[in-house]
Symmetry: C2
Subunit: 377 residues, 2 copies
């Protein structure tokens, strides 16, 4: 909105918008705002020097000095962060601020009380953040290479594992648990500079798509391995999933795998600039329906295709782009999204396959790369 400058108050360690705006990593919330195309931050003595060196802020204002100035101008012995913002806004002749939808209400009310005009911006707050530059694509590819290494480490462990009594898996004579497999994945990612979180869940556990997995893994069960490392150096995320099975799969499991991989290809085939997020999702969802894979969410344990097909990824793991039945997104070249259809049927198991693509004018470019072999003998 004209005349309204962006205002953020967040920790860039957890706010992808703040990290994008200032390219400055900070563990605690701080103030940043725009002023006629310039970017300005208010940083305390703990962060200021680093902010001047490492960030893309055009101006770094020392918080302590501006707090003192606020006290003086407002003639009050105690001032808060809102007073400091007001004082800086006055100095920079800013008439009003536009804040993101997740701006903290406490600070917003304090600003309103002091008569600072505020409006709430749309989501995504910085639409340009959704359009990745070539440099960003390089970093996302790199993060996905680390994710792939994590999945490969899991695959190697599953290959090496022996099948013991009760079809339980053993690695180096000790039970191969979900916990252990996750640790193997995470160590592999971390050794490459990626702070990893991951899911390694087998059997019916994997039917709960965000269950990270617990206990001994077994032969004959589908094991979902979903790896989403954040690169420590760049802050960008990778996000990939493969589903494995140690031993021999049942026909039902093979059909499930084939259906998910085909649904992913169907979704991929619809990706191009101008396509809607909804259309991409429906390509996968309709294929499942065609093949008779029913989705039911209103029963005790939901089953079928119970999540959306994908989401934006970049400095945030789940950026505000949705490839879902509700998605209003029209894809543009440079947007980066996951394509991760899945099917979940307790008794048979869960399958999810996830890759990351960049939207192009003509279609898409794959930013993640790893084979799709899954039956491990």
């Amino acid at each position: 909105m004209k005349g309204y400058e962006p205002l953020l108050y967040a920790a860039s360690a957890t706010s992808a918008e703040m990290l994008y705006f200032g390219r400055f990593w900070a563990p605690d919330a701080f103030v940043a705002f725009g002023c006629r195309k310039k970017k300005i931050a208010l940083l305390n003595a703990l962060e200021r020097v680093r902010g001047e060196k490492e960030s893309v802020f055009d101006v770094v204002l020392p918080l302590e000095a501006w707090m003192a100035r606020a006290k003086q101008e407002m003639r009050r012995p105690v001032v808060g962060i809102a007073d400091c913002i007001i004082t800086a806004a006055k100095a920079y002749k800013i008439k009003g601020f536009c804040v993101p939808a997740d701006f903290p209400i406490g600070l917003a009310l304090a600003l309103k009380k002091r008569r600072m005009p505020l409006i709430v911006g749309a989501s995504p707050f910085f639409p340009k953040q959704m359009i990745k530059t070539e440099e960003e694509l390089v970093l996302i590819r790199q993060a996905n290479r680390v994710a792939a290494k994590g999945i490969l480490a899991a695959e190697a462990a599953l290959k090496e594992a022996k099948i013991g009594p009760g079809r339980k898996l053993f690695l180096e004579k000790k039970p191969l648990t979900s916990e252990r497999l996750r640790s193997i994945i995470e160590m592999a990612c971390l050794s490459l500079g990626g702070q990893a979180e991951c899911i390694a869940a087998g059997g019916d556990q994997a039917c709960d798509p965000h269950a990270v997995g617990t206990g001994v893994l077994r032969a004959g069960e589908l094991i979902i391995v979903d790896v989403f490392p954040r690169m420590k150096a760049s802050g960008y995320y990778g996000d990939m999933t493969r589903t494995f099975l140690k031993g021999e799969a049942s026909d039902e499991q093979r059909e499930l795998m084939k259906a998910v991989r085909t649904a992913q290809k169907r979704a991929m085939a619809t990706v191009q600039a101008g396509a809607s997020g909804k259309a991409v999702h429906q390509a996968a969802a309709n294929y499942f329906e065609e093949k008779g894979y029913k989705t039911v969410t209103d029963q005790a344990v939901p089953e079928g295709f119970i999540h959306s097909t994908g989401h934006g990824v970049g400095l945030g793991l789940h950026e505000p782009l949705r490839i879902s039945s509700q998605s209003q997104t029209l894809l543009k070249a440079g947007m980066v999204v996951t394509l991760e259809p899945g099917l979940y049927y307790p008794g048979i198991g869960g399958v999810r396959i996830e890759d990351v693509v960049a939207v192009t004018e003509e279609g898409f470019e794959l930013l993640s790369s790893l084979h799709y072999k899954w039956e491990l003998l």
Copy 2:
């Protein structure tokens, strides 16, 4: 406030309040609220089953069904999360909500527009969260044991390192950089189940307290090693710092180290139920002043004791308790805080020593444990 029930909308992966309220780990924001001492969450099909199994929510409402109900009751084809909250509030006869100061303004405005009374609560939002149970103290001790292992791994690497030309450190014939030392620390923590972040910064870099460190480390420089792992299993943080020096320290460096350790002891000696956060901070700050260590924040590079003495720690790394000159906190038994005075003088270097204590009626209990030897020959 009477009749106002707590309402949260946050991802528990990044909101310590949400994690405390529901004891349920979720990567994306979801809705949770209280209702006459019960805890209720609205979870989608992706999270619902796991929420029922893993959380302490008394009731888990299926989001999709409540969205449908909102559409029906409001006779609108499209509804949002605010409508869903209103519908649930009506069903549960809730008259108004109390939200934390960091509640997202977008959702707050949507609720206000629909005439839901909202008030903003104080910080900390759940005062009880600041008082740790015995069970929580066990988990924080465990996280600090992992932090200590990370620091020990760094110490071992520094001990083993050889001093090369230009006083540069070499480990196994390759330069020992800050990056490499951090990786050693993080791998050590991760192998014990702690998702680690850390600082390993030497020389003048360490004078910038949040600089994580970059480039080759050198003999004769103070190296700050600050390790704050989050335990994957429990969500609790450890937070410890030691400062090392490879080779022989200068007299100035020894004095600095002695002053910081003494200041930490002075701060510790003031900790007990009833003491103010400010008094604890001043015990350290006054000691530095006595000894002639000046603090200046309003110059290009701030120096001296340029941060506060400590902060609360638990499910959040920086919980809303401050041991600072501005602190309004009155310590209570069961509160857990870091005590981490530091001195930073470019040219000499930086020293920070950090431990975690639980406040008791009589004094404190140390929740972190590691020696204070620092000159590594």
